[in-house]
Symmetry: C2
Subunit: 451 residues, 2 copies
């Protein structure tokens, strides 16, 4: 067994895939949104591939796009994360189960309770992807006309985190004695009432559920803004990042890791996993053709709208099958414009191909053979661009099968990915310490995890 640094791999899942053209790909499971048997098979394949976790993406409203574009997209609907992951907990044994839950439109008592319950049901495999929800359409589903502003959302999120983790610590690990002879089901000295009264939240507690198996479910965060980075450095176990290339990845990695020591946290106690869209072929050329075919399944009328927004000009007036003509600069979104122009130039894409790339998936991608993909992942790992990846598959189940059957053995052969799960819980597999109970210090814990 190599002692090289090991990749951690999550799978960032929408039931039909993250790519908006995926449902039209030959062999794709286009009805997976409401077909649990498909999702069960996907989760079991991830477990066969020794993935750390299934990350369930989520929204609290129908995606905000014109109906004429939305009707092309399989992402309009899906199972709700808690019900889905609870069901998947019984179809898997090792795979982590990470649900997205919002600090803006839910109650900390409910959130603490559900994640604790999922952690018990899965024997320690739950994770909470904390999102502050910036979608104004979501607010309208919860009786709110206006969204909290960005800084207020983060202040509430921080307080929300402290309340949820405080509720998880309501009971000492050994509180439940269940002594038939003395008729004592639990020891009242090992129960703590939170009595939280803060700026945004007031929650008495205690939580009426035993302390989670992991102490606390794994805390995941995304978001790259300054308050998001600081919140993550203070509270997250895993960051789901979205750099566009290795250079950006290294800068983000260095910035966030440098924030840990001043907070008294160990550098390896926060794992940074960039999102990576991975397309596997027997040759690089074949992988590129697969991706081109997938992109071509994005409906053109939806796609061209994405390109118009990115360029800040009406792109529908261009010849779809020619290269992009010179595009005048505008005041809008210069950075996205520059990025799109560079992409068109680098890959020699026509207007149609460029639009469909943006309408499909345009973030960081590894497109090649198992060898070239493993090379790139290793370069990120060795170059301190990441601690692993949150992988997105081009279509399902085929894109996932290819990854597990071809890329995973290549990574294992290089000694940078596990052949067997190291531990029993998601925390153990990720190499994260079990948090101390802030109210009962005798609880089993490693010291480096701070509140």
């Amino acid at each position: 067994m190599s002692t090289a640094r090991q990749l951690k791999l999550g799978a960032f899942m929408r039931p039909v895939s993250i790519h908006t053209g995926a449902w039209r790909y030959p062999g794709a499971w286009k009805d997976a949104n409401f077909n649990f048997q498909h999702l069960k098979r996907l989760a079991q394949t991830l477990e066969r591939g020794k993935f750390d976790a299934f990350f369930m993406a989520d929204h609290l409203a129908l995606l905000n796009m014109p109906l004429d574009a939305l009707k092309r997209s399989h992402t309009a609907t899906s199972f709700e994360p808690f019900t889905l992951l609870s069901a998947l907990s019984q179809a898997t044994e090792h795979l982590g189960l990470v649900a997205t839950a919002s600090t803006s439109f839910d109650e900390p008592f409910h959130i603490a309770r559900r994640f604790a319950s999922l952690d018990h049901l899965s024997n320690g495999r739950a994770g909470w992807n904390i999102v502050t929800t910036s979608n104004p359409d979501a607010a309208l589903n919860f009786g709110l006309e206006q969204h909290l502003d960005h800084d207020q959302r983060y202040a509430r999120a921080r307080e929300f985190h402290d309340v949820v983790t405080g509720l998880w610590d309501s009971w000492s690990d050994d509180a439940f004695t269940r002594d038939v002879a003395t008729a004592e089901y639990f020891d009242p000295a090992k129960l703590h009432t939170l009595n939280h009264r803060g700026e945004h939240l007031s929650v008495r507690g205690p939580l009426h559920i035993a302390r989670p198996v992991q102490g606390w479910p794994v805390i995941v965060q995304a978001g790259a803004s300054e308050p998001a980075r600081q919140l993550a450095a203070e509270t997250a176990d895993v960051i789901f990042a979205a750099p566009g290339n290795l250079e950006e990845g290294r800068a983000f990695y260095a910035d966030v890791k440098a924030r840990l020591a001043p907070l008294g946290r160990e550098r390896d106690q926060l794992k940074i996993l960039p999102a990576a869209f991975v397309v596997v072929g027997d040759t690089v050329q074949q992988a590129r053709e697969t991706r081109a075919r997938l992109d071509s399944l994005v409906h053109y009328e939806s796609a061209i709208a994405s390109l118009s927004i990115a360029l800040g000009t009406d792109a529908s007036r261009f010849d779809p099958d020619a290269f992009l003509p010179p595009v005048p600069q505008t005041n809008d979104s210069q950075s996205s414009r520059e990025r799109v122009l560079a992409l068109a130039d680098r890959e020699q894409l026509t207007v149609r191909q460029l639009a469909q790339r943006l309408g499909g998936y345009a973030g960081l991608a590894f497109v090649g053979t198992a060898q070239t993909i493993a090379d790139e992942m290793q370069e990120w790992l060795d170059g301190e661009g990441s601690d692993g990846f949150n992988v997105m598959f081009p279509w399902l189940p085929g894109g996932l099968d290819d990854f597990v059957d071809k890329v995973v053995p290549e990574l294992q052969g290089r000694g940078i990915f596990r052949r067997e799960y190291e531990g029993a819980t998601l925390r153990e597999n990720l190499g994260l310490a079990r948090p101390a109970n802030r109210f009962f210090t005798a609880d089993q814990a490693s010291p480096e995890k701070k509140i």
Copy 2:
């Protein structure tokens, strides 16, 4: 096959049993609160016994009792209902899965979404037990100092129901076309945005999840007050009732059923299921001894507090092993006092036995052989006291096994309980129509179910 009227049977479950002494009973699964394997086995036994549904009791706070009493009780904690029932959906094929959810401390968008998701995961077996939550301790877990008053809670509950069912109707049953050739995943003409603005709630919608398999999950209600009865007559498919005896049961049944015709509802489209605690023995005497033993496992100090409250006097000053002395009348709770005195007299219980009965379970109970229990159930059914029962088991798994192995065959032999499930969904098994979609009238539905 007999054409006699058929009993509908739910199981009202706390993981360790509803009886507070149950965890100390020999062979009881005292750790079932967080042991999913036990709950899976219980659900599968219920399905073997052809039960209609598993009803998950719930609270949104630690039970409100002194710690010295609470520490004796296994009811302090358990899995959260949605996560538990979602996991159980994969361990069963026919059993209905009914979760309690509060209209006072949750959001209609979340509630609509989770029940729809559970309905899809279970292929049409979800039910929603609507509660308004009268526990002031729960309010403190949700940032509220004060509870809404009773009438306001019911007004909000009614509006909440209308919003949730409106969200369930967001999509026509045939909205998802998934036409690869035309790139149309859904037909936008079959999507409806609710735009609800009411007195208590403001919810835009639409729900981003396909219409539930059952149209709407089965709506269950408890509560016996005037507004509760009217709300149930207007909106419920099932009432979980709690009469103390057949006379009370018949009065409640007649009252609620009479409310249906003026609302345009069929009499058989609302099922009334009283809670019944059932103890099975090979002889009546043996069943009584089993119950006495179970009651004796309720801790005396906790039990005597319950008796003091019921009598309106400090019962701890009485000799525990003598019969109750004359108890002076007080202004408090005269009806509960009368009922307790009658119970002590009827069953010739000592102070200790009486206290432990109250501390264990003191509602409607059938204690006897399979034959006498079936006689009583048939008397309720034929006498229009109920359409079935919500059965509670004295301890688990033994009390449930006895019911399924002994009482169920007796009921089946009399032709008043199914030998096989009639339908694929909970609605079909209960004999309830699938609700029409209020926005898309072409959806498959029977006409008698009104909003």
